[in-house]
Symmetry: C2
Subunit: 408 residues, 2 copies
């Protein structure tokens, strides 16, 4: 019987701890694994021998339950990228030395694209030295831009936050009679999935967001102004959802096109939302406001998607199953077996097929004008935001699992 | 038996519809009132004869329940200020003409400072023409800056959002080892109550926000940089809560002190958070980010305070009682009769005592350095954020009462 070790990496999501809970629960259930270690701050915790023994803590069901609904990363994160195997094997040797010391049989890395690159490299190194250590990737990213898998853990919760916020912004905005434009900037530098989720705010009475712009469609300033102008003729309060990564036909970020200078004389980058706010202010005679959803869209666990948390937990568990079956160099994937009713199956794919790809929004899910998304897109995202986890409030505030080892 | 009419005005809150529900419920219960009308877009709906008969809609309990938890204003808002009585009586005559036509016995105005000014003027006009119409103000403002009353409807919900968001931002931020500063800008141009609520994010493991700046304490740039620097020595991730209205010792807004110019050559105002972000970027060698909570802090009904919604409902009802008892020119007030256990009583005060006052945070609730608040402040706000309303989610999104008459 061997032990296992798990780590988290990249940007936080509301579901990455649910995957951690799944890995821990899975490992505690299986006879192949004894102790479960957690490396602090991703792979750097292994390099620096900073880790915890999670076994006792998470044998308590209440800790596991609380972990599942807690935002961001219980084990902390890192942005460390391993050197190429052919360039420098030193960190690899260091990592596997600790694995040996802790009698590690499997390493689980929960993260996005960069973490899958690490999984790829570590499993290749393991093969090269004939190590029996299994290396398995468990995906997460609010961007939903990993290839092969139907969608990624964390996306559904962020999508629920974005759509719910847009609905609330609609209620807040529609109360005034003077014409106005409200621009909501959503995360997603290269892929527009999360911005597209704003479409779910629409219902029988809520037409917002009236316009939706993704990085996948070239943004045309003149068309944007024309579209807002037309809308303002029939509607008092126009609401626009825009991805932070929108760019013009030459691929130049709209957010970078401003020439603002701060009080120290330095040029400052505005976000896409702020840039469009200035543009509307300049070109149209209406009240305009921009809202950046910022990091709350990825850490607002109090409005996470239950479906997302459940699936994230299952994916963590499935990763353990893969390792227990002796597999390595794989990332857990999810396949949608039916849309109505929504059903999924958990599987896996070689991590090398995933590590460096980016799944963009398909052109056919964006309308011809490039200012909205299709019903197919809405139907794809809708099942992912369903259900609400049970959140306990203590003293009026959502109660999450403390991260004492990371206290700041 | 007479009818009554109700309207909403000013900026939205998560609780202003709970007060509306209270007024409607109260009026439907009392024998003194028959039909309940709702004026659209505040007092302007009365001036322009745009109103609804709310009686049948809200005899249905499910509509009343849904109204109670819906953000912003079912009846829409306005920013209209009545002229001084001695300058121009035309709009007054118009308003009372509609009152006569609709056989109105009482007008309820739910709003902040400006709306209380309207209540004051209308009740004075009513007295001057010997009109029997009662005019009653029901307070609301997330700013909590109305005098006489212990606190204002809408504040508790916004405070719960601010404190919960700060806790979630802490979880999001603490995961990284490189040192960082995160600045969270909270609404409140003149009063720091809402920013002060961020203190409730602190608990046994969460030291955030490490610094809290209110408009009531002069902001000193050098002290701020020094304080952040000192904190960074012992803590990786410093989190700062700052009111949008912070100003220097000469009363000059910090948010206005930037000299940024947009791509059209126009000078742009940055918010206080953005301005501090640029300052930290310039002066300290750390990662820095600013987050503007923006309008979500006032319209995120999905995380409203149950205490706030309940009290708002009661205040609406109490307004109806006052009118039914023949009183006029009053605003409903709330008195805290005990802090532990928290108990309140509903009362009233002449609206002229309230209309033009601003309740600032008392100096003794701000620490000597001007970068934090005291335990007395926390104890004052804590009861106001307790409890969670029952929110129904439809298709993954919070379900609120449609505002079809305002469709945009």
């Amino acid at each position: 019987m061997k032990n296992c070790i798990v780590a988290q990496s990249g940007g936080p999501t509301a579901a990455i701890n649910a995957s951690l809970a799944g890995v821990i629960y899975g490992a505690l259930q299986r006879p192949e694994f004894d102790r479960v270690y957690g490396s602090l701050n991703g792979i750097t915790g292994i390099l620096e021998e900073r880790f915890l023994d999670l076994t006792e803590t998470f044998q308590k069901q209440e800790n596991l339950d609380l972990l599942k609904v807690s935002p961001a990363m219980y084990l902390g994160s890192c942005r460390y990228k391993l050197p190429k195997l052919e360039d420098d094997q030193t960190p690899y040797a260091q990592i596997f030395k600790l694995f040996e010391k802790l009698e590690i049989g499997a390493f689980f890395y929960i993260g996005g694209n960069d973490s899958m690159d690490t999984v790829d490299k570590l499993s290749a190194y393991a093969a090269s030295i004939d190590s029996p250590v299994r290396v398995i990737g468990v995906p997460k990213t609010i961007d939903n831009d990993l290839v092969v898998t139907d969608h990624t853990p964390g996306f559904g919760s962020a999508a629920k936050y974005v759509a719910s916020s847009l609905r609330e912004v609609y209620h807040d905005t529609v109360i005034y009679t003077p014409k106005s434009v409200t621009i909501v900037e959503v995360m997603g530098r290269d892929a527009g999935w999360l911005t597209a989720a704003s479409v779910l705010a629409k219902n029988s009475y809520c037409a917002a967001p009236h316009l939706i712009y993704l990085p996948e469609a070239a943004f045309d300033t003149e068309e944007f102004i024309a579209d807002v102008k037309t809308l303002l003729e029939s509607c008092n309060n126009v609401i626009v959802a825009v991805s932070e990564g929108i760019r013009d036909k030459d691929g130049k970020y709209i957010s970078a096109s401003t020439g603002k200078v701060d009080n120290f004389g330095h040029s400052q980058l505005s976000g896409a939302g702020k840039t469009l706010e200035y543009l509307v202010q300049e070109r149209l005679d209406v009240k305009v406001r921009s809202i950046e959803l910022n990091i709350l869209q990825r850490c607002a666990s109090h409005i996470a998607s239950k479906t997302d948390l459940e699936e994230s937990f299952q994916e963590g568990q499935h990763g353990v199953t893969l390792a227990a079956e002796g597999k390595t160099g794989l990332m857990v994937t999810i396949t949608r077996t039916s849309s109505d009713p929504y059903t999924v199956e958990y599987g896996s794919a070689p991590v090398c097929d995933i590590a460096n790809g980016v799944k963009a929004v398909p052109a056919e899910w964006i309308n011809d004008r490039g200012n909205g998304v299709t019903e197919e897109m809405a139907a794809y995202i809708r099942p992912l935001i369903q259900g609400e986890p049970e959140i306990t409030f203590v003293d009026g505030i959502p109660s999450y699992l403390p991260v004492p080892h990371l206290v700041s």
